[in-house]
Symmetry: C2
Subunit: 208 residues, 2 copies
DNA sequence: CATATTACCGACCGAACGTTCAGTAATCAT
DNA sequence: ATGATTACTGAACGTTCGGTCGGTAATATG
């Protein structure tokens, strides 16, 4: 009987010296530093120091800086893509599906906040980054399609190009990553409710 | 003896060989590269190559990388701060002043798009960046105050914390910098109208 | 023309970068 | 205890970074 069947235990596989971190924990730590300093401005020594390892010990666990970025944005893209798994119900009204997509996107962003934050800052300098940008564009296109369907069905306002609507609304959702910190006064649920409400009704006084 | 206060010493100043670029043109060129590659990922040689100069010739015109960032964010912050010059009319209803601030912020962002884009990506690694972040927080606080006043006056919906309203709405405005490119199909005026309309009324179908 | 002034170049510097590697210490199965 | 396996160390590697310097070419003034 070992110390426990902890699923996060990745390294202590059978024999050998046990590792200080699981790969998931290490990734979480790394992404936090990426988000604080910025990916490009973060050196491998910064990451090693944050984990309490030397640079070479750190390299024993990861293959390089770009792999870490790839793992992080992969996780973010997985969460954002999964938004459509729940939205795909074809029976509903298009406007309800759009609202659902807004709510689920906000929820996914908040649930995977550090990873999505990092994804939203990717510029496209390396192949990993360009691939992430492409996958992100695909997600955006699916969201824009939902807005377009709702517009054609006459269920949302028709005086604004639905592509513009989609960009602005999901831009509002994504902007959450720039200021929200878990543990603060405002709860995640509160934020989700606020962003959905503002998206649907705007800031005008409530109507009876 | 120096000629006294030389605020923006350009180039073709009196005698000597004429320069290829004015400082403003050089800054515009530099900011474009910063926005494409990201500030940290841009090397001084990248900037020199983009201007057609050698690295050392480039250094003859600017004191360093950080000065360029400082000049750029200064310009962005000036434009964003100037938003309040027109909003300050105290007679108006708070909600009208808030709407005005949204519109003028969007206009300023679009008018100084590359500079504001760069500002919005600043992380805070150097003193110049931290100072820019502080000034940006001050602007955000003034915008949040407008939302708070409108909320207390009962002129906007009261079921959402006005600080949350402010963050989300100006997050939507700022998100424009992530996709808008001048010269594309959508005009700047169109974007401003859309963002103000969505902020006030949301995406629900028009009411008669 | 001479001279002052500015624009620009090539070569270089120390530091920091991401990454590698040969070796050592710790731990588990047998 | 032994051997296999994993965790980690310290010292370096080649490269690129931001930045400097001595010198040269071009231009305006007088």
């Amino acid at each position: 009987m070992s110390t426990g069947p902890a699923p996060l235990e990745v390294s202590a596989r059978g024999r050998g010296r046990p590792a200080r971190y699981s790969r998931d924990d290490l990734l979480a730590l790394v992404v936090a530093v990426f988000n604080e300093r910025g990916y490009e401005a973060t050196s491998m020594e910064d990451l090693a120091r944050a984990s309490g390892l030397t640079k070479s010990a750190f390299y024993h666990h990861v293959s390089g800086k770009e792999e870490l970025l790839g793992l992080a944005v992969e996780r973010a893209l997985g969460a954002l893509s999964a938004v459509f798994d729940g939205v795909a119900t074809p029976g509903e009204r298009p406007v309800d599906r759009l609202q659902d997509a807004i709510r689920r996107t906000a929820e996914a962003l908040l649930a995977e906040l550090p990873y999505v934050t990092l994804l939203l800052r990717v510029r496209g300098n390396t192949e990993v980054e360009r691939s992430a940008l492409a996958r992100r564009r695909a997600v955006d296109a699916r969201l824009a399609a939902l807005a377009s369907e709702a517009s054609q069905a006459g269920e949302i306002r028709g005086d604004i190009d639905p592509r513009l609507v989609s960009r602005l609304l999901f831009g509002m959702v994504n902007s959450i990553a720039q200021w929200y910190r878990p543990g603060a006064r405002t709860s995640a649920d509160e934020v989700v409710l606020a962003v959905v409400t503002l998206a649907m009704e705007g800031l005008g006084a409530q109507r009876s």
